[in-house]
């Protein structure tokens, strides 16, 4: 199925095209994805072993309706219970799972829904991840905002009332180095109460520096915990190194970050196993760093520019809802973020059950907030973006919609100390 991802741009030189094809067709031409590259910090940790042994032994076809019923009756959801809730046997119990999930969400978060917006400051990328619109072989308009441009974007977003921002870059150390990102964090502290980062994984001392610049939350998506599949999808670049990515959250916490976020991109591999591994990644790290704030996201594959042939691997809305309910029941205290890749209808429904955070006023392009925010609700995609979003509600609209659902929109509940 990998071939459906491969797109040859007519803009590539013959040499580049040849290298791309060799990466795609000759496994031996690719670097060992389990081997660290020079400069990548190696930490001692048993978290990965715990997560992977659970995932590898997970046979979801072994669980029955009885296991699911028992899991729903238990006060504390064990790992075994969670495995039952993620299994196909739980699909007929989706409504009961949603009821239990809603109860747990209200116990821990009341009726609050947090709002944030992402800001892409650069889309240069040194990796060839075959499913991603930013990949280095894809012909898109590349951009890196200057500090003046970043500040202008931030002003536009802050003027809309937003108080939490998530700064994103493509994964290019060369184009968007740590100092560049740090300066962006310092600017963000002027305009926002809370600053999160979703950038390439870095070393502990670099996370410490970024924390001192004002960031306190780090999001790293593992994409898939299936290392063999990972190898076939991430063909080139530092992102190819799977274990360095796995330990990113732990390095971030050691660097002083308050919270970390996790996810697999559901649909890349077996989503049940990836969902299990994502939640256990949170579970084992929480036991090791009990002060840390943890959150989970749940992206599915969405169409990307120049490639409309990708089909998510059976992660329909029902399966996504099942995964989110299972996350909530197993990890009642973690935040759950649902991005604008999902539809307004899905997000309106899921915030009543399990999600605690949604984005609003979203653009995944670079430097286009002013044009997007100046008009009314936008009705189409502008410029070159990482992926197309589905729910393009502005902050005001989202705020009102949440309040109309009887929930309480929250713009900030955080202090940088």
């Amino acid at each position: 199925m990998e071939n459906q991802f491969f797109i040859d741009s007519e803009h590539l030189s013959p040499e580049a095209l040849e290298k791309k094809h060799r990466l795609e067709n000759e496994p031996s031409f690719r670097k060992n994805h389990m081997e660290y590259m020079p400069g990548m910090e190696i930490i001692e940790s048993d978290v990965c072993t715990s997560v992977m042994s659970q995932m590898n032994s997970y046979d979801y076809s072994a669980y029955t309706a009885e296991d699911v019923k028992a899991a729903l009756e238990h006060t504390t959801c064990t790992i075994e219970d969670f495995k039952a809730l993620l299994s196909p046997a739980a699909e007929p119990f989706l409504e009961q799972m949603a009821e239990r999930a809603r109860l747990e969400t209200s116990k821990h978060f009341g009726n609050t829904v947090y709002l944030f917006t992402p800001l892409y400051i650069a889309n240069y990328c040194e990796n060839y991840c075959v499913y991603c619109g930013f990949n280095c072989y894809n012909h898109i308009k590349r951009m890196k905002l200057s500090m003046e441009q970043i500040e202008k974007e931030m002003k536009v977003i802050a003027d809309s009332g937003m108080e939490e921002i998530l700064i994103l870059t493509g994964e290019s150390r060369g184009q968007s180095n740590v100092e560049y990102i740090g300066e962006a964090c310092k600017l963000a502290r002027k305009y926002f109460r809370m600053v999160g980062l979703e950038i390439y994984p870095v070393n502990t001392d670099e996370y410490k520096y970024l924390h001192e610049c004002g960031a306190d939350y780090v999001t790293v998506f593992q994409e898939t915990y299936d290392t063999d599949k990972y190898e076939k999808l991430h063909l080139l670049g530092h992102k190819r190194v799977w274990p360095y990515r796995f330990d990113a959250q732990e390095r971030a916490l050691r660097g002083g970050m308050r919270g970390v976020a996790f996810s697999a991109l559901l649909g890349l591999s077996d989503f049940r196993k990836d969902a299990l591994a994502s939640a256990l990644h949170v579970y084992y790290l929480q036991r090791k760093y009990p002060h840390a704030e943890m959150s989970l996201s749940c992206p599915r594959l969405r169409p990307i520019i120049n490639n409309d042939k990708i089909n998510p691997l059976d992660v329909h809305e029902k399966q996504l809802c099942q995964v989110l309910c299972a996350y909530r029941i197993f990890l009642p205290y973690v935040g759950i973020t649902v991005s604008s890749r999902e539809s307004a209808e899905f997000r309106n429904g899921i915030v009543k059950i399990a999600a605690t955070k949604v984005s609003a006023g979203v653009s995944t392009g670079i430097g286009d907030h002013e044009s997007k925010y100046s008009g009314k609700e936008t009705d189409g995609v502008q410029g070159d973006e990482q992926f197309e979003i589905d729910d393009n509600r502005s902050l005001d609209k989202m705020y009102q919609d949440i309040a109309d659902e009887g929930l309480q929109p929250v713009l900030n509940d955080y202090l940088y100390v």
Binding site: S106, K107, H108, G110, N111, T112, G161, E163, R193, Q286, P290, H291, A292, E293, M294, Y333, Q408, V410, L411, N412, D413, Y414, L415, V417
Partner: protein, 256 residues
Amino acid sequence: MNNDKLIIGGHEFNSRFILGSGKYSMKLIEAAVKDAGAEIITLAVRRANTKEQESILDYIPDGITLLPNTSGARNAEEAVRIARLARELGCGDFVKIEIMRDSKYLLPDNQETIKATEILANEGFVVMPYMYPDLNVARDLVNAGAASVMPLASPIGSNKGLATKEFIQILIDEIDLPIIVDAGIGRPSQACEAMEIGAAAIMANTALATAGDLPMMASAFKNAIEAGRKAYLAGLGRVLTRGASASDPLTGFLRD
């Protein structure tokens, strides 16, 4: 009963219900003040750290004492910084210390709480520390200058009631400061029970916030707290442990 005041740091209060901050809404504040008679309302400084803060602060009626808390602090140093920020924001001198380094159960860190209490009491704050009910820690808090001691009844937000009742009773018996039961009170009967054993006040939030009819639940808490307080002041009758007491004394045969 009219002279029965709750006194914290030299300030007098008629109400023994304090609204917690966990799940905030305007409707909740309104019900707490109007229907539960709250005179003290907790405010999470981190939650007030928003452009929306005017609306929350503006809504709090005159005569209500704001009790800013330090939620989000993971150690004494962070709690002290948040408390100072609260004072700068004009939230007054009261502060409830909450220090958690556990994001799962949100249990308070007693050791760090003692440290923060001492620093803030020395700076003139009226310090109300949230703590896990431990007698030695409570004594340390007294020595550190606390104005009250706030033991948890059960994990915050759990509505599980007086899981730590025996230990709260010990604090009530041994500590000369108001013991305010905080966290875990899920229903009026549990609030009443805590008041019967001598708690000075009850702090609750989730129990009201998640009720079907908010004003009615607020009013139920008010009645329960007053009933428990009256029972405590009246002196509870004895509880018979084995059936009934014999009407013919067992020792009636003794002649001299």
